[in-house]
Amino acid sequence: MANIGIDLGTTNSLVAVVMSGKARCLLDETASPLLPSAVRYDDGSVVVGRDARDQAAAHPARTFTSVKRFMGRAPADCVADAALFRYTMDESEERFVRFAVPGRAPVTPVEVSAEVLKVLRARAIECLFGEPGGAVITVPAYFDDAQRQATKDAARIAGLEVLRLLNEPTAAAIAYGLDKREHGVFAVYDLGGGTFDVSILELNDGIFQVLATAGDTHLGGDDFDRALGEHVLTKAGLDRRDDADHRELLLAVEAAKRRLSDAEEATVTVAGATVTVTRADFDALIRPTVERTGAACRQALSDAKLTADKIDAIVLVGGSTRVPLVRTYVGALFGRAPYTDLDPDQVVALGAAMQADILTGSSQLSDDLLLLDVIPLSLGLEVMGGVVEKFIPRCSTIPFSASQSFTTHVDNQTALDLHIVQGDRELARDNRSLGRFTLRGLPLLPAGIPRIRVEFLVDADGILTVSAKEEHTGIESRIEVKPSYGLSDDEIERMLEDSIDNAETDVDVRLLIEARVEADGILTAVQKALGVDGGLLVPGEKEVIDAVVNALTAALPNDDRKRIADLAHKLDEVTAPFAQRRIERDLTLALSGRDAGEVGKQLGLKDSVARGTLDHTPGGKH
């Protein structure tokens, strides 16, 4: 079963897969790889893609575009953007953004994105003649924790198993690096419809190491359209803009923008008036936006401790990098001409497909390639006086863990509030609030005596888990940080159930398929391991494992989801000691020449896993 790569873009989305050793984007019935990220909610049906985008002017209140700008954000932060797009925010909801839709329940950006993902998933099923394995979904490198969580939530609602969230510039670098077998330091300049990212990466010895990343999640080609739109209205002497006119205007200026990439001038017709725009006019209009990207580029270079002349190649990503001024500007900034060989619209999806293929563990592309990414913004806790105590500095390689101790400030304080923030400003209120939780039941002690140890763990998707513990008493609190402005598990479950493509029976079918896929994966892994490392089995172990393997193999074709899941779980359990011996053996090899025995002892490896039971579902879907 092939894993797929998805570029969930502000303007367009794509799905790609590695076939016969080559990554390619899957095409729709018109042979286009691009699915416009536009969704229209009609009575009882949902229209996604080109039709929704092209008819947006006729149905402004029911059509949503550029929802990526709203993913995982606080309603209060979205008022201006919502006004720009003429969306009506549901003000009764304070925790997350929700848009009103005439004649039906309001929708969240997560649900809108899920509709786009469902279409891509359907395209994959059609092209691959079956359900895809898992998906690698790209996100802007600069997305914070809440925005990443929202993206994962959307995938879950669309029925996709997310193998990994991959940063877009990193995906682009993979596509270029694998394609050209280059070594050296790359800068990836990614200007999309609504987001801007720049990443500095080093490819060395088969490892892609992201050195630094910076960007702006609210800067992109949409801003060019808007500047051009304002200009056209002024020139045409118009100022009245109702919703339909506004959409029509945006479509017209977007087309003009594209023409200006090749032509010296273009005309825009709006409300009967025709305005001619020259390349020079356009450049002057967008120059301030383009120049805003320079600050992030300098920041990334400084974080990577490099100067522009140390960059071996620049890769352009995103449709907006077709704009000539952008190319000139980037060339001047880095002192060399950027690469433009790969289609800037497709390069991210191609890279995502390559990473998805690598994650199958039996990649046709490059078994040896490894990707090391970083966290884009510092993570910290709010402490006394609203100041942020940073736990994990920005551009730290992930996964990452860190811990620090805190104490109480008044005598007999029984609870401690922890407020987790993300960002690089000194004061908590200037940063993004990710979540709050309270450690209760602290012992009655004078101020300053309790020791509260807080641990942060950021996984390979850039998603955070925090736990806190009072060390004298062992009182503990742990949360998977659900962003303050995110959806709860219950809400996602409800959306999954509500979702039109997933009527109740569909959910059952999907869960059955998921159970089978997972069981099949475990069976394959176990059989492969037994074949390679049968010598590591202890007497009697093989018989126990075989019995479970046979039972599971027999259960697989039947529809008893619970039995399949239970047996898969059982198989994972009975093979855990065997898996453990294989890991230890591998690590011993990895550490050969070092004191491996000492390492193992410090870890208490044997103990832990021999007694282990497993939950083998990524993301914990139980």
Partner: protein, 186 residues
């Protein structure tokens, strides 16, 4: 999974019962993990080399298609590996780790500073009032002296002479004067 330390059921990297991070944990010795000698004077390229060879073995991407127990452990291994590199790449953390066994100060703000040292700083502040800029100049000179002293201590230690008892105090002083420099430059 069962916590190796208290036998309570645990979901996720940290045990709810006893807060133990499930193995492999942070207790891992960075020098062993990166395969470099236990020295202060280290070749940065060797650290990176050790890092890369280990990352290729334990990174979660290498375990994506394997059972959950392996995926979870690989996540923790890699977190430890990243932390190990961060510590060894930072000369102050590396020095503290060798001297005290911990990369971060044992208590917030580090050990108490010597009164004579604090009196000297007070004196610098007075000088700064008379001729502005004196403080940061003096602090910068002292920063260089302290680094040179640490270097000497470790050079001797690496050749089998002397000990590291002064290191923690010198690092605390260094942190103080570095702070002074930063504060008075802007």
């Amino acid at each position: 999974m069962i916590c190796y330390s208290c036998n309570e059921a645990v979901r996720g990297p940290v045990c709810v019962g006893c807060s133990a991070l499930q193995p492999p944990g942070l207790a891992l010795d960075p020098f062993v993990l990166l395969g470099v000698p236990r020295r202060f004077h280290l070749d940065g390229a060797k650290i990176d080399e050790g890092y890369r060879s280990m990352a290729k073995r334990v990174h979660p991407d290498k375990f994506a298609a394997r059972p959950a127990v392996e995926r979870r452990m690989s996540l923790q291994w890699t977190a430890s590996l990243n932390e190990a590199r961060r510590v060894l790449k930072d000369p102050d953390k590396r020095a503290r780790l060798l001297a005290t066994g911990q990369a971060e100060p044992r208590e917030k703000g580090g050990p108490k500073l010597d009164p004579a040292f604090l009196a000297e700083i007070f004196d610098w502040r007075e000088q700064d009032e008379e001729s502005p800029g004196a403080l940061s100049d003096l602090a910068r000179v002292r920063e260089g002296d302290l680094r040179a002293e640490l270097d000497t201590i470790f050079t001797a230690w690496e050749s089998g002479a002397g000990d590291l008892t002064l290191v923690e105090d010198r690092l605390a002083r260094l942190k103080y004067v570095t702070g002074l420099v930063r504060e008075h430059v802007s």
